[in-house]
Amino acid sequence: MSEAKTPSKLEKILRAGHLGVTSECGPPRGTDPDAIKKKAELIKDHVDAINITDNQTSMTRLCSLASCIHLKLMGLEPILQMVTRDRNRIALQSDILGAASFDIHNMLCLTGDHQSFGDCKQGQNVHDLDSMQLIQTVRHMRDEGKFLGGDDIKRPPNMFVGAAANPFADPFEIRVPRLAKKIAAGVEFIQTQCIYNLEKFEEWMRLARERGLTEKVFILAGLTPMKSAGMAKYMKNRVPGMDVPDELVKRLAGVPKEKQAQEGIDICVESIQRLKEMEGVKGFHIMAIEWEEKVPEIVERTGLHPRPKN
């Protein structure tokens, strides 16, 4: 794909044709910045950029923007996750400017889990925009140098714009059209939902390739290693939009409890090795939830280390 439009290190690496590697850190439920810095320290030499989640599962946490600034001050490359649940278009645009003022160059546009999952079940949700409209908004601010209201922005934000895609949600027949729609809205990179059902993902990628979509967007395959058979069952039955095949649960349950975590890492490594061969996969997004110390092992064992210097 053509040359980089933003100063994003992730964009440069992807456009240079390297497989990108991203991971993510959840901010703490308190004010201690060390919580985020320690997680970042564990993965910083093995990834190109680090997502900071935005009040994930609607639990109130230290904000994504402040956490991204902590990473930036460490010399790292943050990806600002932004959900449309909690802010209207004034606050979203304002936070985009705030992030850009710290030269945060990556953003992931999301809808966000419903607030009923979190600690403020009685709160309002905003959803002034949806995730596609947030993509349009940030592209408009960057490319036109204008606010949604039409006024010029002095020193417009310069963000590499990402979004999520879930190849496994229903109905399947609109999964690829939905990707096309996000591309039409202006998305430049995609981080997918955790992939456990590789056959279904392969089918989604095939359909995306047929429509030429893999030439228009960088798709980073999402992976979360399972810590135990219990976690696999939980993900299968309780987490919305997750597709965990029975064979995977069986494989984890088939090894002794104390070895299940290692088996989970092995499965993740095998998945990446298979995905590396899949045409259109341009990188990996490794979400090792509260298990960041395992990211280096996964990256090294899959031959994705050392990371390119951009």
Binding site: D130, D170, G241
Partner: protein, 222 residues
Amino acid sequence: MIVADKKPIEEIIEEVKDHDKILILGCNECVTVCEAGGKKEVGVLASALRIYFLNQGKEMKIDERTLERQCDQEYLDEIRDVADDYDAILSLACGVGVQFTAEQYFSRPVYPGVNTCFLGATEERGLWTERCQACGQCVLASTGGICPISRCAKRILNGPCGGSSNGKCEISKELTCAWHLIVERLKSLDRLDDYEKLFPIKDWSTDRAGGPRKVVREDVQL
């Protein structure tokens, strides 16, 4: 219609307990259809309150009346000559009726006897569901006749979100994903290509966000 639900009797008792003469005022429109504030419910509530206050040793005059509508001055005028007989009115109309009654009878306290819930329809006896949020700028033409603003928990105009599973919403397995319904409907209309049309950023100024709204129709004004 406007769908309402009965308030718990304890809450109603708390509202009226310091009065001696109350009028329970029903409404013959929406709240009758949704069985929350019609003539029948007025009677049931009046009996329950009479028994309660009798047991409490309190003498309370509780009368019943149901108007054709409480959102219309013409019908509210029907109680003009008796309103002074009461020191409070307990309205079982929707929030519109309660307020309009209070505006007409400014020196009487008017209490709500129902919780006004949403604009909806009767799916079956005893089951009412939401269909409209009165956003003031109808989008149904482009969503296959299914409203994502009232029926999606995140009012997403370019859905579904990633939380939809087996056609159900992430907030409840009993709630069908609005966007699942939209896709099914577009398919049956042979319009699935329309799914890829980006819905532009919505002007919410016609919604609640723009402040209290009014409709002025000079063509029908007297």
